[in-house]
């Protein structure tokens, strides 16, 4: 640790020094350049970073953009699929005032924190200049990128937990968690499957999403509208117990506690299970014959219900501009394309993710891309959706939940103990 710290500190310091010197000397040069870039037709290089994309959408968007914008050349850089790891890499980069990335995707829970830390360029001026109508977007997603009265990100797509199943194995879609458990047991082993159900249970952000769904289905609540901790209630305990039952059952892989989206999607697409809980992109990925053995045999449904109905975590991704980007104007051009009509259409058609731009749902190609997008109930549902609360303290809350839920599903403590511990520790953070 000592050595590592030393190296990083030294590295950070030199990096900072270099970039700072670089910045200050470059600025004047850049200014002179930017005044005559138009005439010289010099290509501006941008780097666009996002988490691992298992669909072809990101590459497609970048290709299309580069074709239609000859003076800008965008390069795609993939970050880890574990959102926590991506987060940490961004923090390292941006706190060193690095300009290596220009545009990047943010998980719906980051904007408040990143805006506070000064990593993001406020977008209000651009939005005004190009008179973009923010009312065309899903309001919850716009709000997620709004912090202290300023707009820091543009909404890219909305994510919601869904149940995907194999049409060749499942006759009747399970309505409740108990139905699902029964069917998962019954279908295990049929049609070459080894498991009945797949989810995400590694100690990371995805575990929190899975937990919140179980808890909410049984009437549990984590934070109330005012942001106060109310996690210690019977619904949460019941939901967690159901989650433990599923994780400990023999119809999920025995190492389910190492699964993120990537592992579970791979197993599903290899035809190893009849059911999976995943984000909307799973539909496009599972129907892609290049990577899936079960193309054409997949359908989706809302997650099963508990005592209090069905509940899905609302996530989603936003895009923003690095404050230290050397080419903010060009970065905005790309951001506008990415989250505008053209970009969102590609994300929906190629990536299977739900657009945040409401007019997209009237587009015939988008409606064809996933049964979700043509479904009025789904569109109405998500257009009213409110994503997880934005708080600069979120990483700490999430860390607490990850540890305690992980302990509970590993059998190190009971559901009651886990909920009590979460309650006590979260109250220390959210005062």
């Amino acid at each position: 640790m000592k050595g590592w710290k030393k190296v990083t500190t030294a590295g950070l310091v030199t990096m900072m020094a270099v970039t700072m010197v670089g910045c200050s000397s470059n600025n004047t040069a850049d200014n002179n350049k930017s005044t005559d870039t138009g005439s010289k037709d010099e290509k501006v290089k941008l780097v666009f970073a996002r988490g691992k994309d298992t669909t072809a959408a990101s590459n497609h968007i970048v290709e299309e953009f580069n074709k239609t914008h000859p003076n800008i050349q965008v390069e795609l850089r993939e970050m880890p699929s574990d959102t926590g790891q991506s987060h940490d890499q961004y923090v390292t980069m941006f706190s060193a005032k690095s300009s290596e990335i220009d545009v990047f995707d943010l998980d719906v829970i980051w904007p408040a924190e990143f805006a506070q830390a000064g990593y993001l360029l406020p977008l209000d001026r651009f939005i005004q200049q190009d008179s973009i109508n923010m009312n065309d977007y899903i309001q919850g997603a716009v709000q997620a990128g709004n912090f202290n009265g300023q707009q820091w990100t543009m909404p890219k797509f909305i994510d919601t937990g869904l149940l995907f199943y194999r049409t060749d194995l499942v006759k009747e879609v399970p309505k409740t968690w108990d139905d699902l458990i029964a069917q998962a047991k019954a279908t295990k082993g049929q049609g070459g499957t080894q498991f009945g159900y797949l989810m995400q249970a590694k100690q990371y952000e995805g575990l929190v999403c899975n937990f919140v769904e179980f808890a909410a289905a049984y009437g549990g609540k984590i934070l109330d509208d005012k942001g106060q901790v109310v996690i210690n209630n019977p619904g949460t305990v019941k939901g967690l117990k159901k989650m433990i039952e599923v994780v400990k059952s023999d119809f999920v892989p025995s190492n389910i506690t190492t699964f993120t989206e990537t592992e579970s999607a791979t197993a599903f697409q290899e035809g190893q299970s009849a059911f999976i809980r995943n984000w909307p992109y799973q539909f496009a990925a599972a129907n892609d014959t290049k990577q899936s053995k079960i193309a054409g045999k997949v359908a989706l449904a809302p997650l099963p219900a508990g005592d209090a109905g069905s509940a899905a975590t609302l996530g989603g991704w936003l895009s923003g501009i690095n404050k230290n980007s050397k080419h903010p104007k060009e970065a905005w051009e790309f951001l506008k394309y990415l989250t505008g009509k053209e970009g969102q259409k590609i994300t929906a058609v190629d990536g299977g993710s739900a657009p945040t731009l409401l007019p997209e749902y009237d587009d015939a190609d988008v409606q064809k891309a996933s049964p979700l997008f043509a479904n009025k109930d789904f569109v109405n549902g998500i257009s009213k959706a409110v994503p997880r609360p934005t708080s600069p303290q979120y990483p700490k809350i999430s860390d607490i939940m990850q540890i305690e839920i992980s302990k509970a599903i590993a059998g190190q403590e009971t559901a009651e103990e886990a909920v009590q511990n979460m309650d006590a520790k979260m109250k220390e953070v959210v005062k």
């Binding site: 640790m1 710290k5 030393k6 987060h87 924190e113 506070q116 025995s254 190492n255 600069p392 992980s406």
Partner: protein
């Protein structure tokens, strides 16, 4: 007199010659530790604009201020058009109170100059350098600005709660402006006090010690065995000596990923083999249970660093004169006696040096655990380095994270002092004997 003068200069010349080396040591070894300690005394958090740096005095973040003030004006003007008369009047009063303080601040020409400078930079979309960004202020002034803004926040919040406002923008901007008031964030030794009673810190320290002791003991035994083996004469010895080093030569992150695939509960070959021979009850337990995960990490570490241990001990073995063994042979000592009576005592210094290196290395373990388990399941393999990393980079809490790294440094320093004491006594003993 003249003699002593010459001596002095000789001494000075000596110092002058070691000076560059001292400077390098100071810069690359001591300065980061001192700096870490320094940061650990402050409440530094990147996700809080008023605490994003070490601040020992009151001040104003001009970038935030110059960004927020015009926004506040335009948003209040906007909002006033949309709301009822009483609310509009209140908003106006809020704006006036803030502007009054602004006027007071502007009586200081330094403030006005700096404001213009920062505003120009912002208008040209240029980054504001840190030395321009922060302006020192009197405590009274900073406090007054803060009080006014807090008061304004309360008023706007009340309006917003009464549903008298159309948007939340004004509230947000006032809160953002509050972030421009900088207060000293010195907390002294509070973090150390907090960590010494933190059960998670002790648990991670326990994991670290467990990992260190078990892996280093295994490596010592295996390393010694391999060293003795490759010290023997046999055909292909050169090849074996080179091949032994391969695990050590692979970057840890790569080999950790490799092990992760092999331990995988579905497709991992090693998990499958262990399960088939009955070592584990299910292929999944390797990475999903506390002891499985701990065993997996130690096993991978032993595989990786035993060659290093073997190499150090092998170097030590080569310095033992052959004549000692010949004499023992003549005296009729068995191979076993030779090993315990000659090899081990002669190898003592090498073993201690190797142990010192490995213990310190193992204590700071990060990359292997980070890739293999990420500290899970349920934090059961979280080492203290991982904890510090999470505190610093996942929660952006640099002050607390620095305190943790200083604690690691202290542990490491204690361990090395212990070793050096044994080792030093040994070396001195040897020297005086000669």
């Amino acid at each position: 007199m003249a003699k002593s003068k010459r001596r002095m200069s000789e001494k000075q010349a000596g110092y002058l010659m070691v000076f560059p080396a001292l400077l390098i040591i100071l810069v690359i070894a001591i300065w980061p530790v001192v700096r870490s300690f320094w940061i650990s005394l402050y409440d530094v958090r990147l996700n809080d604009p008023t605490k994003s740096q070490i601040h020992s005095a009151y001040g104003i973040d001009m970038e935030r201020y110059a960004n927020g003030l015009p926004l506040l004006k335009s948003n209040i003007a906007n909002e006033k058009k949309q709301v009822e008369a009483p609310a509009a009047g209140e908003l106006d009063a809020v704006l006036q109170s803030v502007l009054a303080v602004d006027k007071e601040l502007n009586q200081d020409p330094k403030f006005t100059d700096r404001y213009t400078q920062v505003d120009d930079l912002l208008n040209n979309m240029q980054p504001v350098p840190d030395d321009v960004k922060f302006l020192d202020a009197e405590q009274v002034q900073a406090q007054k600005l803060k009080d006014t803004l807090q008061d304004a926040e309360k008023k706007v919040l009340a309006l917003s709660n009464d549903k008298q406002l159309k948007t939340e923008n004004v509230l947000g901007i006032v809160r953002g402006l509050e972030g421009s008031v900088i207060e000293p964030n010195f907390v002294g030794l509070a973090y150390y006090k907090q960590y010494l009673t933190d059960s998670r810190m002790w648990a991670s320290l326990g994991n670290t010690v467990l990992f260190t002791v078990l892996s280093v003991v295994c490596e010592l035994v295996l390393g010694l065995w391999i060293a003795v083996l490759i010290n023997k004469q046999f055909i292909g010895r050169g090849l074996v000596r080179a091949a032994v080093l391969i695990p050590w030569a692979i970057p840890t992150v790569i080999s950790a990923l490799m092990w992760k695939f092999m331990y995988d509960g579905q497709n991992g070959i090693l998990a499958h083999v262990f399960w088939k021979i009955g070592l584990i009850s299910d292929p999944g337990v390797l990475l999903t249970t506390k002891w499985g995960a701990m065993f997996s990490t130690i096993f991978a570490d032993v595989w990786k660093t035993t060659p290093f241990m073997a190499l150090l001990l092998f170097a030590g073995l080569q310095t033992i004169p052959e004549s000692l063994y010949e004499a023992a042979e003549v005296d009729g000592a068995t191979k076993r006696q030779q090993f315990f009576r000659i090899t081990l005592p002669m190898l003592k210094t090498s073993i201690l040096v190797a142990l010192l290196f490995r213990t310190l290395d193992a204590f700071r373990v990060f990359d292997l655990v980070y890739v293999l388990t990420g500290g899970g399941p349920a934090n059961s393999t979280e080492t203290i380095s991982i904890y510090a990393y999470k505190t610093m980079f996942a929660q952006m809490n640099f002050g607390a994270g620095s305190a943790l790294s200083v604690l690691v440094f202290l542990c490491v320093a204690l361990i090395s002092m212990g070793y050096i004491k044994i080792l030093g006594a040994d070396l001195i003993g040897e020297n005086s004997g000669k």
